[in-house]
Symmetry: C3
Subunit: 129 residues, 3 copies
């Protein structure tokens, strides 16, 4: 397992970590068929989506916040919206690996999603075969 560090600068932010995941994978099992990317935080997530136009990541961040229902929350830290979105987006993604490299579609990238930043965050990369 390899650990990646991510530094976010605003509360809701998508950070493209594709090259960091690829680099971590190259130091793990060369015969892997699967790459697993895991976020060990409860107010952050990881998704795969378009990496070409940065407007997409900005639209996603705005839409996530707009989807949070306007209901009273109980959790004393005041960030139940972040926990909610973390469970909807998911704590991990799994990618196919071929000949030691991540296989992604033409427009896809891997994005760390901070939902309660700015913070210093970690991502764990593992393999399966």
């Amino acid at each position: 397992m390899k650990e990646i560090s991510v530094r976010t600068t605003v509360r809701t932010q998508l950070v493209n970590i594709t090259s960091q995941v690829a680099s971590a994978l190259s130091e793990l099992d060369p015969g892997a068929t699967l790459c697993h990317v895991f976020v060990p935080h409860t107010t952050a997530a990881v998704v795969i989506n378009e990496a070409a136009d940065p407007d997409v990541a900005r639209d996603l961040a705005a839409a996530y916040q707009a989807m949070v229902p306007k209901i009273p929350f109980t959790h004393a830290e005041g960030n139940s919206d972040s926990h909610l979105l973390a469970t909807l987006l998911g704590s991990s993604v799994t990618l196919p690996v071929d000949d030691g490299r991540i296989r992604l579609g033409t427009w896809q990238g891997i994005f760390f999603v901070d939902l309660d930043g700015p913070r210093s965050r970690r991502v764990w990369v593992s393999t399966g075969r």
Copy 2:
């Protein structure tokens, strides 16, 4: 593969199954690098989120119900909201395994999410390496 049983008591409920998953894993491949937790139901899901403050799980259950759009549904059983949330939250989670143990962040736990309880439910735990 090992099967876990979960009994829920209300319609929408998160049940912390972390220790049951850890126990199932200990009876599977000791050399595993990945642990896969799968829900074989269409109105339930599994998520990873905060296990320290039980208010978080309660806030999540309330927020899931509040996010269901108020549109007419066709499915005759009347639980299309449960199917909808099951697809958004997901039927499985995958976790890194190191030295035979699940690796989770400090505040994370694994939660079975019933979206159409109360029922007796099952969860399947598998490994990859």
Copy 3:
């Protein structure tokens, strides 16, 4: 890795690909314990849900569209709603495999979800063990 082709006919559509995934799996590793189904597109997803009543898939398609928040989007292609739903539903599912066969619950099927069709799409099937 095996590739599946899917042809959609409307903008938002769920297509049951369970038998195609099972067929692809039978040509891959017979000793696999996990089956990974990956969508290499940024405006499509894959989910597991009820395959018995086709009304469920229709209700899901309608509900996904109804959940998109009514906010102004920046991305020039005008399909930020599709990117949003793709990240919420997810780019892949992972299934347990036993004795060379996918293990699913009684009512479950695997659905390709087009969120910006009609298009010709691809799905990649891989294994882990």
